[in-house]
Amino acid sequence: MSLRYQRLLLILITLILILIAVMLILFNAKENISYFYTPSEINSSNITINKKIRIGGFVKKNSFNKISSSEFNFKITDNEKSISVIYSGILPDLFREEQGTVIEGYFDDKKIFNATTVFAKHDENYMPSSVKSKLEDSGYWNKKY
């Protein structure tokens, strides 16, 4: 094979591989992206039932309720609005009232959020920057969270 032909072959293989990668990315990106909201950003217009989203805020004081050893309900709030959440499973170690948390799940109906995953942070001082900036905007940012 001549050098030129070999280079052409190489470029062709590369292009095909890149094409496959792009196709994979495009096909997979849509289903696996979840939007992130704070409780006050959620209103009846942007709720799609059974669509996976994430909500970030902190657990409202005195809202945590243990239904059984594996079922819980609580409210997640940004001090403007709060949303009722039910979750079954194991809560992360750092999950506590008045602590920051991010939950992933979907709305069963327009009112109750069904959490499939509750994220906690490795560090109690930690809060996602997106939640932090939102809370700072609304004036409720407290260094303790």
Partner: protein, 621 residues
């Protein structure tokens, strides 16, 4: 006192490097010992590091950093690891490792002295950049303004032997790329254009890659048993960030192999060398700046982020600028045939770079979207699984036979044997999965993993006369590394595809059964340990009426930081792990989650083999 020593020696080390830089460019008369100066600055940096460690060990709370991150009743090992368990200390560790690499390079033999000096000068410049970053934005030697008797304590989740050694090993990998960066830039700038540096870079790139592999695996193993999620990889941004330099580093190791076939893709090697270190710094920037929403907690301080971003742009910009201005010519045309070693290596490099780009895209996509549309999104693990894995698959197929492909010709020896082996494995796996649970990914992963192992073994036996000696081990080293990868693939596939999950709401004394394993949930106890309270549930595991294990799982409560950590209980068997997590309780009724993770130990075994073979590779001439 030790804080003062630490700060002064760090400043002196930076000062010495400034002198080195200044004298290299402006002093004509270079009658001083270059190596000695570099070593002096390395020793000073290490003194600085150890004086911080000393403050931690002696619980010197007059140091603000110690006060914030330590507590006098911690076990000694966590006092030591506390040194790098925080942002400031970890940056000091970073620069210490940077100077250790400088030191080690200064004592290695390099024929071209000018080239060696140039490399050391570049390494010293990196030292200056990171040194200034520490002094101005993350000084670990600040004095506490109030006198206190007790510190605030180290984050309990970090109090774990695995995580104590994870950062130094990981950093040894990340920072190792600094010396490769310096070598590549020096190689570009050096007028005497020979290829000696490629042989030197080959060793260092293997060292860095091996440490990086070990570091990532340690972190992953820690996540597996400490975080209580039942998994070991979560496609968290912090993990992705470590994976990017790992893959490009692997591409670099492989393209440096081409020196042996005298097929030098010089441009590409230099590009990769710069890219590896850039990705290491880029990762540090993303992690430290708090731009990425990650479950890992690190200081989210904007000024630090900006400073690292600046360092990133200086180093990357300078690196690629030099690369563009002084692009070397390929000394020999590459001998690219349809199926020879060179084309296999080239395709493998292309695949690895595409993989890196895919991960990069998924990791920074949320940032781009937030900047453009103000929507906040997160890209979940499934994205990475369904893009990265298919892209890598052809590479896995290729790596099984690549080491025995010839450099010059198109022929594969014993090709029939390989084809036959592949067919047998495919049929066996297909039949096996048809009778158990069929899963496309499971089948593909198993075929590939087993095939890599088998093909490597066939290659070893068909191409070498087996003797039991270290030399032999060095010879078959590439195959050994690939066997490690194969074992890890089998582990990864089985543990993620065939994982089973069981939930129980049970009382103390209850018994239950998972297949042929009988488990008794014995009583829950609480005990007081040195710096925490432990709550442990006992599980008796019986098989064929025989007691095989007593597993304890539970939680720890750390009064100093008022935190709870989960302690998963794991029953290790050769072919599966039974993984216990204790959840909440209500009226004596406990929630217990059990994962059956098949073949998880294969992952760690595979990685261990890769690391060992990495070290064997370093000793090879």
């Amino acid at each position: 006192m030790s804080s003062l020593v630490g700060f002064i020696s760090l400043s002196l080390a930076i000062g010495i490097n400034f002198f080195l830089l200044f004298s290299y460019f402006f002093l004509k008369n270079k009658n001083y010992n270059f190596n000695l100066i570099v070593r002096l600055s390395s020793v000073l940096t290490l003194i600085s590091f150890f004086s911080l460690m000393f403050s931690y060990v002696t619980s010197d709370f007059s140091n603000f950093n110690v006060f914030q991150n330590s507590h006098s009743n911690k076990p000694l090992i966590y006092k030591i690891s506390g040194t790098w368990g925080n942002h400031e200390g970890s940056m000091l560790l970073w620069i210490s490792i940077l100077s250790i690499y400088g030191f080690l390079f200064s004592i290695t033999k390099v024929a071209d002295l000018k080239f060696k000096q140039l490399t050391l000068v570049i390494q010293s410049s990196l030292h200056i950049l990171f040194g200034l970053f520490i002094v101005f934005t993350s000084n670990p030697f600040l004095v506490n303004s109030v006198i206190v008797k007790e510190g605030l304590g180290l984050n309990p989740i970090l109090q774990d032997p695995g995580l104590a050694i994870h950062p130094p090993v990981l950093y040894a990998g990340y920072v190792g790329y600094s010396i490769i960066f310096s070598l590549a830039i020096a190689g570009l700038l050096n007028k005497n254009n020979d290829d000696e540096w490629l042989y030197i870079a080959k060793k260092w790139s293997l060292i860095s890659w091996t440490f990086l592999t070990g570091g990532i695996a340690l972190g992953s193993y820690w996540a597996y048993y400490e975080l209580g999620w039942g998994g070991w990889w979560f496609w968290d941004p912090v993990e992705n960030i470590s994976l990017m330099p790992w893959i490009t580093g692997l591409a670099l190791v492989h393209s440096l192999l081409m020196i042996r076939g005298e097929q030098i893709l010089k441009k590409w090697i230099i590009f990769l060398s710069i890219l590896c270190f850039s990705l290491s710094i880029f990762g540090t920037f993303l992690v430290r700046s708090g731009i990425l929403t990650s479950v890992h907690s690190f200081a989210a301080d904007a000024s630090r982020g900006l400073f690292i971003l600046l360092i990133f742009f200086i180093i990357t910009g300078f690196g690629f600028l030099v690369f563009l201005l002084r692009t070397p010519e390929n000394s020999k045309p590459i001998n690219l045939l349809f199926v020879n070693k060179v084309s296999a290596l080239v395709i493998n490099n292309v695949l690895m770079i595409i993989t890196t780009l895919t991960i990069l895209l998924g990791t920074i996509y949320p940032i781009i979207i937030e900047v453009i549309t103000n929507d906040r999104i997160s890209v979940g693990g499934p994205y990475f699984n369904s893009t990265v894995i298919p892209i890598m698959m052809p590479g896995f197929l290729l790596m099984s036979v690549a080491p025995v492909l010839s450099w010059q010709t198109n022929r594969l020896r014993n090709a029939k044997l390989y084809v036959l082996g592949f067919m047998i494995i495919s049929v066996v796996v297909l039949i096996q999965s048809y009778f158990t649970t069929f899963n496309t990914w499971g089948v593909l992963g198993l075929i590939l993993g087993v095939w890599i192992i088998v093909a490597s073994i066939i290659s070893i036996f068909s191409s070498y006369k087996i003797k039991f000696s270290y030399k032999m081990l060095q010879k078959i080293n590439p195959h050994i590394a690939h066997i490690g990868v194969g074992i890890a693939i089998v582990g990864i596939t089985c543990s993620s595809v065939f994982k089973e999950e069981y939930d129980y709401n049970i009382n103390e004394g209850d018994k239950f059964r998972i297949k042929n394993t009988f488990i008794t949930f014995q009583k829950v106890e609480t005990t007081n340990e040195a710096n925490f309270q432990a709550l442990r549930a006992n599980f008796l595991i019986k098989k064929d009426e025989k007691l095989v294990a007593n597993i304890r799982a539970g939680k720890n409560y750390y009064p100093v930081s008022k935190m709870i950590t989960s302690e998963a209980g794991i029953f290790h068997e050769w072919f599966r792990d039974i993984y216990f997590i204790v959840g909440d309780q209500k009226d004596n009724n406990w929630f217990i989650k059990i994962y059956i993770n098949p073949f998880v130990s294969f992952i760690w075994l595979g990685v261990l083999i890769m690391v060992l073979s990495g070290f064997i590779g370093v000793t090879k001439k």
